[in-house]
């Protein structure tokens, strides 16, 4: 049939699409089932975070930081307050550091649980979503117990935390860890080694390590490409150097290094490590210290700037803060990990099938609140 010709077609995926995890629009040029070109449009959730920061004092920014990455608010707060503390050059009580690490790691588990569950949903498996949310609920209960809030906490303050741990928290948290660790096996049985799931994700959308570094991909996505790099170990901040744990790097046990399955499975294994860190922190928790003793009444850093990054569930979260000596930052830039991770999609996604693009997008684990800020 010599007269038969195919034409490229532009398809808008999003902003209302279940696989875009929020309001992301991908303008896809398709050739039949194959994606030829991707043009991502972001900014639907832009709330002028950085402009707001130039009007608010350092304490008041913390609730705004929560709302950037709403699935890992504790980690965002932790990174922000450490940046400001570095600018102020103050010492933090040890108990506070322990509480912060416990909260951050619990939040990392909660965030990865959402990533796992929704990834299953994207691929077409609805049941794992219910299982992961059942377990995430228990973490949110712990957060509610300590901070009074379930999603946006405003708990970690500059120089301290808002409240000390409530009575019974430590026991409840131990209980949760004992409950949670066997559940990882359940996810493996249910999703990780499911034949259909492997078919949809293994050897799909491979990101080679060089490409990942070039595009600034960080966090679990970078480790899934086989790069052994984790800020918690390699540039230890807070008290991470006190615990024994392993950095999870994908080994390509199913499929190949850097495929969607590796990106998914790095998160499963990371949850186990996080649980282990929480357990060690609970065991070593120093008692009876005032958690607010180092909270400064007025935050007025000296003139200067600082760039500080920490390991978020999604990658390296950086804060670049310029102070002019007043109690309001002159400039605050947030280097959001999901922003950089998503920017690679137009490169990596070319030549995939449309259904594989969904598999890629889900495995990067984006949060649009943080990308658009």
């Amino acid at each position: 049939m010599p007269d038969l010709k195919t034409e490229e077609m532009v398809v808008q995926m999003g902003p209302q699409h279940p696989a875009t995890h929020g309001v992301l629009r991908l303008e896809i040029t398709t050739d039949g089932e194959i994606v030829r070109k991707i043009n991502p449009h972001i900014g639907y959730l832009h709330r002028c975070f950085e402009k707001h920061c130039e009007e608010l004092n350092y304490h008041q920014i913390i609730p705004f930081v929560d709302r950037c990455d709403y699935l890992a608010a504790m980690n965002n707060e932790h990174g922000y307050v450490m940046a400001v503390e570095k600018l102020l050059d103050i010492e933090i009580p040890e108990r506070v550091e322990y509480i912060r690490v416990i909260m951050s790691e619990l939040n990392r588990i909660a965030s990865h649980l959402v990533a796992l569950g929704t990834y299953g949903l994207d691929i077409g498996a609805i049941t794992p979503f219910l299982f992961t949310f059942r377990d995430r609920e228990k973490i949110l209960d712990l957060f509610e117990m300590t901070s009074g809030a379930r999603l946006l906490y405003n708990y970690i303050w500059i120089g301290g935390v808002a409240f000390d741990l409530p009575n019974g928290f430590v026991e409840k948290c131990f209980e949760f860890i004992d409950y949670f660790l066997p559940k990882l096996k359940e996810y493996d049985d249910l999703l990780s080694y499911n034949k259909i799931f492997i078919k949809r994700t293994a050897e799909v959308a491979i990101i080679p390590p060089a490409v990942a570094i070039e595009w600034g991909i960080t966090g679990p996505n970078l480790r899934a490409s086989g790069v052994d790099w984790d800020l918690r170990r390699d540039e230890p901040y807070s008290i991470y150097d006190k615990f024994e744990w392993d950095v999870i790097v994908a080994d390509g046990r199913v499929g190949v290094l850097g495929d969607s399955w590796s990106r998914y499975y790095v998160r499963v294994l990371e949850m186990e490590q996080s649980a282990s860190i929480v357990k060690q922190a609970l065991e070593g928790l120093p008692s009876d210290e005032n958690v607010k003793s180092a909270v400064p009444k007025k935050v007025r850093p000296k003139e200067g700037s600082v760039f500080f990054r920490s390991e978020n569930p999604r990658g390296e979260l950086g804060y670049y803060i310029i102070s002019d000596g007043s109690d309001i930052p002159y400039r605050l830039k947030m280097r959001s990990p999901a922003f950089c991770n998503l920017s690679a999609i137009s490169d990596v996604g070319e030549g995939l099938l449309i259904s594989d693009l969904v598999s890629l997008l889900g495995s990067i684990d984006i949060v649009l609140g943080e990308i658009d800020r």
């Binding site: 972001i42 900014g43 832009h46 002028c48 950085e50 402009k51 130039e54 570095k86 600018l87 570094i213 070039e214 595009w215 600034g216 790069v227 790099w229 390699d234 003139e303 200067g304 700037s305 600082v306 760039f307 990054r309 390296e316 950086g318 670049y320 310029i322 400039r331 830039k333 280097r335 922003f339 950089c340 920017s343 690679a344 490169d347 658009d372 800020r373």
Partner: protein
Amino acid sequence: MESSEVFKLIESKYPDALKSIDLEGIEQSVTIDVNSIADVCNYLKTESELQFTSLMCLSGVDYEDKMEVVYHLHSLLHDHRVTLKVELSRDNPKLPSVSGVWKAANWHEREAYDMYGIVFDDHPDLRRILLPDDWEGFPLRKDYVVAEKYRGWTIRKIKEGFE
């Protein structure tokens, strides 16, 4: 390698490009001439001793009398970091793009353009990224005044003295 050693290497390789070195404070930085920033970045990335393979952050800053673009670089192999700065005039902020050096710069530069109106020459796709394409003005500039209307919608004013 310490930042100061990296500065020395840049100075010996590009003596004209280096404008000033700041060793005070928490963060040490070096100011590079506008025209040679892409060359310096390329050198920092490819030189085997340095290998700054990742661009951690690229931010625009408005200082009211000048503009600045700040580059935070990191080397995964050697585990060292460096901060570069470029000063620009406020009336015509324009500099060469480094998106040819690191692909990660692509979206960062688009964001700096979107928020500050800084133009990056040779950028493959320089257009607004977070704001709508027909937005007027550059919001993160210090003298930005919020428009009264956008596409016929009234933009709400912040109350006087509201904090």
